[in-house]
Symmetry: C2
Subunit: 226 residues, 2 copies
Amino acid sequence: MAQQARAIRTRRLILESAAAVFAERGYERTTIGEILVRAGLTKGALYFHFASKEDLALGVLDAQMLDEPLTPQPVKLQELIDQAFLLAHRLQRDPLVRASVALAMDSGAAGVDRAAPFRAWIDQVAEILTVAKVRGELLLHVDVTDTAELFAGSFSGIQAMSQILCDRNDLTHRVLVLLRYVLPTICTPALLIRLEMTEEHARRLAAEYDEKRFAEDGENLTTSSR
Amino acid sequence: MAQQARAIRTRRLILESAAAVFAERGYERTTIGEILVRAGLTKGALYFHFASKEDLALGVLDAQMLDEPLTPQPVKLQELIDQAFLLAHRLQRDPLVRASVALAMDSGAAGVDRAAPFRAWIDQVAEILTVAKVRGELLLHVDVTDTAELFAGSFSGIQAMSQILCDRNDLTHRVLVLLRYVLPTICTPALLIRLEMTEEHARRLAAEYDEKRFAEDGENLTTSSR
C-alpha cells in the first residue's frame, strides 16, 4: 500500500515536472534530461512510468480529464453543468491541468496527438447528453454530437480568453454565461428551473472537490510515511 | 497611386513573412533578420513599415480584424452572423489571418499583447449588440458585455478545435451550430426567423468577399505595374 501511494506520487511529480518544462521550453525543444533534473529523479524511475517524451505528453494531456466520476444527479444535465464548473475550478487551481490544456492548444507541439484530449472531452460530454436524451431531458431538435462539440470547443476558447485577459480570475462567471446562454436552447423551461446553475453552486462543488482531494492526499501521506 | 499600391503590397508581404516565421520558430526565437530573408527585403524597407519585432507582432495580430466594414443590415443581429461567417471563411482561406489567430493563442509569445486582439474583437461584437439592443432586437435579460465575450471566446475555441480535428474543414458548420444554439436565447422567435443563418448564406457571403477582394487585388496589380 505504501509502495502504491509512493508510485502514484512519483508519477504525479514526473508529470508536473514534464508539464513545467514543456510550458517553459515548448514541447519540441524539451529533452527527457531536463525533466529528470526538474523532478530530481533517475532515468530508471522515470522510465518505470513513461516510455518516451511522447508518452509523457500523453500523460500530461490526460490530466485535464476529471480524475474521478461525477456524482450522479437525478437530472442528467446537472452533470454537464457540474463537469464544466469543476474543470474551471481545476484550471484555476491545479498547475498540471493548466499545463495539460496549454499543451493541447500549443500549435508548436508537432508529434503530439493534440486531437486526443478534444475527442476524449467531446466523448465525455456526448455520453452525458446521450443519457439526457434517453431520459427525455433534451428538446427534439438537439443533435448530441453538435452540442457536445459546441461545449468542448466553446469551453476551450473561453478559458484561453479568460487566461489571457485576467489569468482565469473570471472563469467561473464566463462558464456560467456559456451555460446560461446555451442550456435554454437544449432543454425545456420546466427542466431549466430544476438545474443548479449559479456561482454559489460552483463554489460549493469546488470546495467539496478540494476537501475530498485533500483528504486523499493526507491519506497517501500517512500511508507512505509509515 | 502606383507607389501607394506598392507600399500596401510590401506591407502585406512583410506581415505574411513575419507570420510565417513566427509560426515556424515561435515568436520568442524569431529575429528580424529571418523575416528579412523570408521577405527578400532590405532592412530599410522593413523599418519603413515596422519599428520593431513587437510592432510586427501587432501588425500580424491586427490582420484578424475584418479589413472592410460589414454591409449594414436591416436586422442588426444579421451583422453578427455575417461577421462570424466571414471570419470563418478568412481563417480557412488566408494564411495571414490564420497566423494572426495562432499568435494570439500562442502562450509562448511573452512580450506580445495577446489581450489586444481579444479586446478589439469583443468591442466589435459589443458594438453590434449595443445597436441591436437600442433597436429592440435583444431580449430584456441580455447583457451586452457578457454576450460579446461569450461569442469572442467561444469562436476562438471552436476554430482552434476545428483546426486540430480537421484543419478547419468543418468550421462553417461549427460556427452555424454556435449561432443556432445561442441566438435563440438572445432574441425573439419572430426576429429569429428573419435571420439568414444557413451554410448556403455563409457560402454566398464568402463568394462576395472573395470577388471583391480579387477585384481590388487586380486593381492594385494593374496600378503598380504601370
